[in-house]
Point group: C2
Chain length 579, copies 2
């Protein structure tokens, strides 16, 4: 457990260390960020206004050395959805916070207009330092300069050019193990919330001393071992397994085959050209070019699904090209060239944009006639508009729904204002139930029904069956708790299928907290988090009528399976009404 | 009563004449448009999508020759608010529909992408005619050309360049008695709904024969006389009275004096320079220049609050410069020059934009740093961006909230996405209760609490008293019914203060319909309309948490009275909870 909270008041330019209130002691990650946002942010606050806050919290087990525990939650009221947001990232930055004993950083108030600061966390205390010189600079360059200034042994969180625009698709970037801007709390625009406070970066010195306390070391160690074993055993997560070999992009061929890989702004569910951007093809190219594959996104990772993608000549290492990013910037825009996709992804990392939202934005702009489907060069030029902060750049940086409104498009694949990820909900209905009902807006990670629906992990479910409320609810509960524990969601494959893995995960949590939670307790805590988030949303004006997929997905059947989204509203409402 | 409905299917390019269903027989204006939208448009329809419709309906007494009965309701799902919309205009176009026996025109389906048509209503039937040649043309010029083509004896409804952009602030323009594009269903973006159907204009030939039937002529005539007498007697509405002498702009000095005339994006409530744009000053200038004042917006008007504003040399007659427009494009942008305001208003009329939303948009853009407050020349250049359909023009044409999001502004004076009119709700709280709770979004006409709060009409109410739920509810009910009857809202001054006027109004309705409604019945019918509209909104995802003014109005006190908006949420909720 971590023992302190930092409160950063950007209006006063002060950093205060606070004791962790008793009621927060057993919380971490998403459970903690959502709790603090609930307790401190008025639901009707303007996301960029004086009363919103951005909260960072490592998970419960983060910093403990438990496998795949390098996750960080960022929370606040989302400018994209208008509701509560937790956006989760894997990054070494999080273990640095945890090892410093920091359970949460709460950033509140707003600095003088257009002034930016960086928060330095070091052995000699916390400082707010002027950071105006990085305004307008891409994050790759900025992180290099920050390393020059503060040394290599620091981890960084940053708000980029998109965040300077206060744009709703501005994420928060974090360092990867090589120190680059490639890890993201991408979704929901929390970068704009950070930048609207006047906070540009957090630079955290790594520390040898570990202040992260484990209450019951024996239970913890037992659990850690069980969990590690499960991860090393399961086909999806083991060394040489699907994720390790091909990364998340292993899904390109699988989902394309299923008829659920959206092409050209969710107009078709499959295209033979998708193979050109598959994980298998990408792994070959990385090998040929001398990139890195597999690779860890944070130190404790066993799965190692990450990679370092480079340009054709093996130069300009960019970071990972995730499945979601490849799809969003690729097939969804009728682009089937990994190098074009890679450069679009690099621009997103550099500008501080979520790739899923950006890919959907480009596709919607294509649908609106701004450029042709398949025009990769044109798409790259759009990124320049954001660098240049033009009016068009401002439109694009605000995401797909905003861009759709600007260009009069009525086929916009969003829920609660947030773009859908790489699974069309029409032929894979359970993930659609998650998109529709998650308090986060359309989010595959919120309740990954793809596992049972497509991969046969955690049971099997017919993707075309519309009865998915119970499945989605269970997954959303488990996810809320995994996001709170600080584990990578990918442990779910192993703990759903291997009982010892589940036991181990719970034991690590109990070990850190000194608790005796059962699996039922964990699931109940997951539901408590969801209900708290939904309560915030309700007070923010989000009603059950917002728990719906967009109209066009009910009107248009998706080829080749010719399915529309026919899950009845009552089934969607059942997710939480029968919780 | 009118005897037929026209159904215009833009996908099939057909016009069908339908009998009026029995349940619609006693309805008209807003009561009818809201009913048809409720019955036919799915609340979750995308406003620009295939299932939205735009409905036109003259009021119950429109075409009867009753005084001030020249009002038209346009209805649909609003792209601006996401809820139901009725947008009311005074125009000769409406009596032409009524005299043709047309109770409603329902425009549904969508034509082929980027194809436009005009609907011609003539003695020889209804035609849909290609109208692509008017794409990109301003409405003043387009209306001139339409008159050249179809003769002077036609009335026109039109969607302008803003509507071609499918922008959320695109209104529907109608002819004034001189045939110019100056009368508007401005609010809520129904022009975009019309244009997204592929309908550019409706051209209706005037007709000598009047098919508008009056069931009980005796009762009607009695009522008409009483109403006319009341209008000619009341200080606000009589010849030489406030509205007749100075137009709606008579309010500039009055509201400025009250501390409630928003200046510089709702930053102050008064400025001595407001006198430069007052109704009194404007009337002098019109006289000097040889413009027209007073003037009727539609033939049956007794009040004659309208005018024809011209350029300094007396040329280029533009139409009326209303109080709301003068304020929005003037003091709210720190502009105190009637000629600049006039040219901004001309651009709005020509582009097909609501002036209130446009003025708020410019002010928000000023707040966001796009141009300086007071920069009239800069504001006029922004209009060119819309003419040129640039990215910036697309931002601006989508209204204040959209523009605020694009430029990272958190002080945006909207409710349900629609900009506030010319009364700051902080020092005049009853109008704030109407802004917050009207199903239409921020709308002064929805329940004009200014009458008792500032003008001492219809009783007296302390503007600073926060107990305004009952007042606002009563006004909203009465307004819903006046908007259904087809009367100009300004008859309210006379019928609230003069009992015979109220009797007369009800008798004209009873006379036309052959009914025996009491005042209580009328009020109940008003509430039925409101509840129907709220039910639509609820199903569209608008909850009571959306019945709120923006956060900054609770946070910032407005000088000079230093009032914030302190009406408790419970009082806002009481408007409809205790209905």
């Amino acid at each position: 457990m971590c023992s302190k909270m930092l409160r950063v008041n950007m209006e006063e330019l002060t950093v205060t260390t606070e004791e962790v209130p008793e009621e927060y002691e057993k919380l971490g990650g998403r459970g903690l960020t959502s709790r603090i946002v609930n307790d401190e942010v008025p639901p009707k606050a303007h996301p960029l206004g004086p009363n919103n806050k951005v909260v960072f919290a490592p998970g419960i087990v983060t910093g403990s050395g438990s496998p795949n525990s390098g996750r960080l939650s960022a929370g606040g009221k989302s400018p994209l959805t208008g509701g509560i947001k937790e956006s989760n990232a894997g990054t070494p930055f999080t273990k640095t916070l945890a090892r410093r004993g920091i359970k949460a950083i709460i950033v509140e108030g707003r600095a003088e207009k257009d002034k930016y600061y960086l928060l330095k966390l070091g052995d000699d205390g916390e400082d707010l330092i002027e950071a105006d010189k990085w305004i307008g600079k891409g994050l790759y360059e900025a992180y290099d300069e920050l390393h020059d200034e503060f040394g290599d042994d620091v981890e960084i969180a940053g708000a980029g050019i998109a965040a300077e625009l206060k744009a709703s698709n501005a994420g928060i970037s974090y360092t990867d193990p090589e120190g680059r801007s490639t890890r993201y709390s991408g979704r929901g625009g929390l970068g704009a919330v950070m930048a609207s406070r006047g906070l540009k970066f957090i630079v955290a010195e790594n520390t040898k001393e570990n202040r992260m306390e484990i209450k019951d070391k024996e239970t913890f160690d037992k659990g850690k071992k069980k969990l590690a074993n499960a991860l090393m055993e399961h086909d999806v997560t083991k060394k040489g397994g699907a994720l390790n070999s091909y990364g998340t992009s292993v899904l390109i061929n699988i989902i394309n085959e299923s008829g659920g890989l959206p092409q050209r702004n969710f107009s078709e569910g499959s295209d033979d050209r998708s193979a050109k951007v598959s994980g298998e093809r990408k792994a070959e190219l990385i090998k040929e070019r001398g990139g890195v594959r597999p690779h860890k996104c944070s130190p404790s990772c066993i799965i190692q699904c990450s990679e370092i993608w480079t340009k054709e000549d093996g130069k300009d290492p960019m970071g990972v090209l995730e499945y979601e990013s490849v799809w969003a910037l690729g097939p969804n825009c009728d682009i089937y060239d990994l190098d074009v996709i890679g450069e679009l992804n690099r621009a997103c990392n550099d500008l501080g944009l979520d790739t899923i939202e950006t890919g959907n934005t480009i596709a919607v702009a294509m649908e609106g006639g701004l450029l042709d489907f398949g025009d990769g060069e044109g798409a790259l030029k759009l990124m320049d508009e954001i660098y240049d902060k033009t009016a068009l750049g401002r439109i694009l940086a605000n995401g797909a729904e905003f861009t759709g409104e600007a260009f009069g498009v009525d086929r916009i694949p969003t829920v609660k204002g947030q773009s859908m990820p790489a699974y069309d909900p029409r032929p894979i209905k359970g993930i659609g139930v998650t998109y529709a009902t998650s308090p986060m807006g359309a989010d595959h990670t919120a309740g990954y029904a793809i596992a049972p629906e497509i991969m046969g992990v955690g049971g099997e479910a017919d993707p075309l069956d519309t009865k998915k409320a119970d499945l989605s609810r269970g997954l959303q509960q488990a996810t809320a708790m995994i996001d709170s524990a600080g584990y990578c969601l990918f442990i779910a494959f192993a703990i759903m299928d291997i009982d010892e893995g589940m036991e181990g995960m719970i034991e690590t949590v109990n070990g850190v907290l000194g608790t005796d939670y059962s699996a039922d307790d964990i699931m109940k805590m997951g539901m408590d988090i969801l209900e708290m988030e939904r309560e915030f949303n309700k007070k923010a004006g989000i009603s059950k009528e917002d728990d719906r997929v967009p109209e066009f997905m009910k009107e248009e059947k998706l080829p080749p399976l010719d399915e529309d989204f026919d899950v009845p509203d009552e089934e969607l409402d059942r997710v939480f009404e029968e919780a």
